[in-house]
């Protein structure tokens, strides 16, 4: 066994990568490996090291190959990294292919009977007798399969130099309160650790060394962050339909609502959550609840947005508020439902037939997932329109470390709603009258007593008084005002953020591409190419975006789709600058990595 580590390895003598490496774990889904991987990730995190995890899981429930990548980075790079320094191969079905794709010099931990060490000579092999170890450490045979994964956590921890106490704490954290499970898993982990201690020599390829980078940080996924944003935003009606990768947003919300949204006096619920029969019905619930004065939301993915298209147009035209989360996945059609992409950009920008324009929010990290979800409800009520909060599988379902979320102290903006008294005092009120010149009108809520304010909402032509009209001038007045309203939104949506290294070359990206862009910026700068980076956070484009694209000589638009959809929006919004926008694309379903950005920008620069 020791033999394998002693085998000639091209990395021997190379510098040890301290707190700067990736581990890829290949397992079968449904085997509980997600827990083991999260424990390993969490243990590194507890060692004070920046760490991120990407779960590459199949679109089925159990029995298919799954890969989990853990990246530790002293510099805080949390994007996917294409190369891995350590592999843990538990899945016989993919082991050969995994070996074939391995980076030269990688440490390969694998299940001994797989006999992988003959396949390539430029890897460092570590066969582990999992079956033997599992039998010894766990009394209940039916649990062997689950516990087996904990053993590799022990082995890896020993090799990486992770403190066993941190691993044990991570297990306890992960399995909150389930005493028996905690004990069993900790035992398995220790068994792996001890076995490695006794049987494996030390290695100096990759190491974890205690640091203090993660003090006070949380680990969370974007769906949970969004759910929390909605919780604090006081959402009161949720109509939803399950779909990967959006389901856990509402499911997490349900858990929090159970605790935080019960009237303490009566124990009754202050939020209605209904799993609808489909996305069309969910959209109807959201818009009608918003119309009736509730803060309402749903959560879906591409196919759901397509199905909601007709309703979204209704919401736009009748001006009903509602928050629509789109946790995007790889399209078109069913596509790759468990893979990530940013390919609903144009759809969400202009969803529905006819002339329509929607406010879109693009959070780029966990704090923004929380804050923008909170803000979305304000925007929905202020602008009386459907708001899309667009994230993706990478943000939504992967583990991210983050600063704890700041308390959203800003009081709710419930928008222009007239109450009974205001209605009584209002002179010649019209539901669709632009009194303030900002394109936003005053509405009334169903049920308001006093005999004033009732109006008739319709998706067909109407005038300022919400009366039926087919008159061309009435029609034009309404749709022109809607356009004005969209203009007004420019000063209300989140402005972009910048990471400027001082350059006239711009990079423009949004959402989950952020970490890869930051890393790419550094790589490019090291090689002598400085860039300024604007991270777009919303549609419509704000004045800051205008200024950036005006002043840059070139703008590399980084996005995760095939057709350069965001670049399209830029080209049509800024025709005079259209040639500036160069598309940097990544769309194979994996999270974007820095290398692909660097390579494409270099290629453009060399032209």
């Amino acid at each position: 066994m020791t033999a394998s580590l002693a085998a000639p390895s091209p990395t021997q003598g190379a510098k040890t990568r301290i707190n700067d490496f990736s581990i890829q774990v290949a397992t079968v889904n449904g085997s509980g490996s997600q827990t083991a991987n999260t424990v390993l990730l969490r243990a590194i995190f507890q060692m004070g090291v920046f760490v991120s995890g990407k779960n590459l899981f199949p679109s089925n429930i159990a029995g298919l190959p799954t890969w989990f990548t853990i990246r530790a980075s002293a510099k805080g790079y949390v994007a996917r990294k294409a190369s891995n320094e350590m592999l843990i191969l538990m899945n016989p079905e993919t082991a050969k292919e995994d070996i074939a794709k391995a980076d030269v010099g990688a440490l390969v931990i694998y299940d001994e009977p797989l006999q992988l060490d003959k396949l390539r000579s430029d890897l460092a092999y570590i066969p582990v007798p999992f079956q033997k170890l599992v039998t010894a450490s766990c009394p209940e045979p039916k649990l062997h399969k689950l516990v087996k994964n904990m053993i590799y956590v022990g082995v890896a921890s020993r090799l990486l130099g992770i403190d066993m106490e941190e691993v044990k704490k991570a297990i306890a954290k992960q399995l909150k309160g389930k005493t028996k499970a905690i004990e069993l898993n900790q035992n398995a982990c220790v068994a792996g650790y001890d076995w490695a201690m006794e049987n494996l020599p030390d290695q100096d390829h990759v190491k974890v060394v205690r640091d203090n980078k993660t003090q006070g940080l949380i680990i969370v996924d974007g769906n949970e962050a969004c759910a929390l944003g909605a919780l604090f935003a006081g959402v009161t009606v949720v109509g939803w339909y399950p779909i990967t990768p959006a389901s856990s947003l509402v499911e997490t919300f349900i858990e929090y609502a159970d605790e935080y949204r019960k009237d303490p006096k009566t124990g009754k619920s202050t939020v209605a959550i209904v799993q609808m029969e489909d996305e069309l019905a969910s959209a109807g619930v959201v818009l009608a609840a918003g119309w009736a004065g509730a803060r309402s939301m749903t959560s879906t993915a591409g196919p759901g947005v397509s199905l909601m298209s007709e309703f979204i147009g209704l919401g736009y035209y009748v001006e009903a508020p509602g928050v629509f989360f789109n946790v995007a996945r790889t399209g078109p059609s069913t596509g790759l439902p468990t893979r990530t992409q940013q390919s609903d950009v144009e759809l969400c920008a202009k969803c529905s037939h006819g002339d329509t324009q929607h406010i879109n929010l693009y959070p780029g990290n966990m704090e923004e997932c929380f804050q923008f979800s909170y803000d979305a409800f304000d925007l929905a009520e202020r602008f009386q329109t459907p708001i899309f909060v667009v994230t993706d599988l990478d943000l939504g379902m992967q583990n991210w470390s983050s600063k704890p979320f700041a308390y959203p102290a800003k009081p709710y903006d419930r928008g222009k709603v007239l109450n009974q008294q205001q209605l009584a005092e209002a002179k010649d009120w019209g539901r669709y009258k632009d009194v303030d010149g900002d394109g936003i009108c005053y509405r009334s809520l169903p049920g308001t007593p006093g005999g004033k304010g009732a109006y008739f909402t319709r998706g067909s032509g109407h005038n300022e008084y919400a009366q039926y009209s087919e008159k061309p001038e009435d029609y034009v007045a309404i749709v022109d005002r809607l356009k004005r309203k969209y203009e007004t939104a420019k000063t209300h949506v989140p402005a972009p953020v910048f990471r400027n290294l001082g350059s006239d070359k711009g990079i423009l990206a949004f959402g989950s591409s952020d970490p890869a862009v930051i890393e790419a910026q550094d790589v490019l700068a090291e090689a002598g190419l400085k860039t300024d980076y604007l991270r777009l956070r919303a549609l419509p484009f704000t004045a800051e975006v205008d200024a950036f694209v005006q002043e840059k000589q070139v703008v590399y638009v980084v996005e995760q789709n095939r057709d350069g959809q965001m670049a399209n929006l830029f080209r049509e919004t800024y025709p005079a600058l259209a040639t500036k926008f160069k598309s940097v694309l990544h769309y194979n379903g994996y999270a974007i990595d820095a290398k692909c950005i660097v390579d494409q920008i270099n290629a453009f620069e060399q032209k």
Binding site: I218, I219, V220, E224, L228, F232, A233, G234, T236, V237, G239, Y256, Y260, R261, G267, K268, S269, T270, A272, V274, M276, E277, D278, L280, A281, A283, G284, V285, V286, L287, A288, A289, G290, W291, A292, G293, A294, E310, F311, L314, V318, P404, F405, Y407, P408, P411, Y412, S444, L445, P446, G447, P449, G451, A454, Y455, F456, T457, R458, G459, Q467
Partner: protein, 345 residues
């Protein structure tokens, strides 16, 4: 409060009937839907309904336009085709104090809207769900709907070869606790049932046979259809004769009346018998189906059995409207956020 003449009779709330009307109808003269509108106005007036608590929902169709024609004091939401039930669901959850009236057509509910119909009934949304049932798509000029009788004809001569879906037996099958059928030409029965509906807590499914005088001859007997066809003046492309309203009928329990429309078409309407047991689920289904096979429409309160609580109750919602809850009730405290953040560390 009332804009009518001071001498007009008022209800317990002090409203006159005029306070329950809406805008002027734009439907064809003689359309059955207008008779339904009239009875909704009457029943709301007589039931002392607070107008401002009324919300009116609809999909798309001639029928779906009618919420604009009654109870102007209430809010209306004329949404998209077939999706009225989800609109009613959202609004009724946002504010459980609303009195929800949904108006739909047979096309709107039994074709494109079938899924939402079924699930609204299953969830027992607190609403009166009225289907103004004429067997055709009125607004798109007379195609068959899914409630068209097998063997019935369109004006163009096309024949319907598919069996009809009956909203009533379907609702009973789905566990609806209040199912009734009316006929737009029998205002007395409609009035009684609408008033009962206002008093009911969950979903009321109310299928109202409402002839489309323009597009549906809706004949029970082929003979009578032929009669019309042979003897009538061939109409212009889109032209038709403005029929006067069908004369009102009042059908005694257990009796069948064949009602003839001005265009010569005939529909057999049968009022349920006094001994009919509207709490016997399978008996009701059988009786309705058998009646339908004889070419009759059994009318009256067909089934009642309020076993299931309406959705806001199932969800154990607070009594106040969710829409009016303040930030104090909705936003957890800073300490609570802190606690959550701790748990994620």
């Amino acid at each position: 409060m009332t804009t009518a003449t001071p001498s007009a009779p008022t209800n317990k709330l002090g409203f006159t009937k005029q306070d329950y009307v809406g805008s002027k109808s734009t439907l064809c003269a003689g359309c059955g839907h207008d008779s339904i509108t009239a009875q909704i106005i009457n029943a709301a007036f007589e039931s002392n309904i607070e107008g401002h608590r009324v919300t009116k929902y609809s999909g798309i169709g001639c029928s779906s336009k009618t919420p604009a024609y009654f109870i102007n004091q209430g809010w209306g939401f004329n949404s998209v085709h077939g999706r009225m039930p989800s609109i009613a669901t959202g609004a009724s959850l946002a504010n459980r104090q609303l009195i929800n009236i949904g108006v739909s057509g047979d096309g709107d509910s039994m074709s494109i809207g079938m899924g939402q119909f079924v699930h609204a009934v299953r969830r027992n949304i607190p609403m009166i769900y009225i289907i103004e049932d004429n067997g055709v798509y009125g607004l798109t000029k007379g195609q068959f709907s899914a409630t068209a009788d097998k063997g019935s004809f369109l004006k163009t001569g096309a024949k319907n070869e598919l069996p009809p879906i009956d909203p009533c037996t379907l609702a009973i099958e789905l566990g609806c606790g209040f199912v009734a059928r009316c006929f737009s030409g029998n205002p007395k029965q409609m009035n009684t049932i609408l008033k009962a509906a206002f008093a009911y807590e969950g979903t009321v499914v109310l299928d109202i046979i409402s002839p489309c005088v323009t597009f549906n001859n809706h004949d029970a007997s082929t003979r009578s259809y032929k009669h019309v066809k042979d003897h009538d003046f061939p109409l212009h492309d889109l032209g038709f004769i403005q029929y006067s309203e069908v004369e009102d009928v009042d059908i005694a329990a257990g009796e069948t009346e064949v009602v003839t429309f001005p265009d010569g078409s005939k529909v057999a309407i049968k009022a349920i018998h006094e001994h009919y047991d509207p709490t016997d689920r399978f008996g009701a289904m059988k009786a309705i189906h058998e009646s339908m096979e004889k070419g009759e429409f059994l009318t009256g309160l067909l089934y009642i059995n309020p076993i299931q609580p309406p959705l806001p109750q199932v969800l154990n919602l607070v009594d106040e409207p969710l829409a009016s809850l303040g930030e104090d009730m909705l936003k957890p405290s800073a300490a609570e956020l802190d606690k959550i953040m701790q748990s994620l560390m």
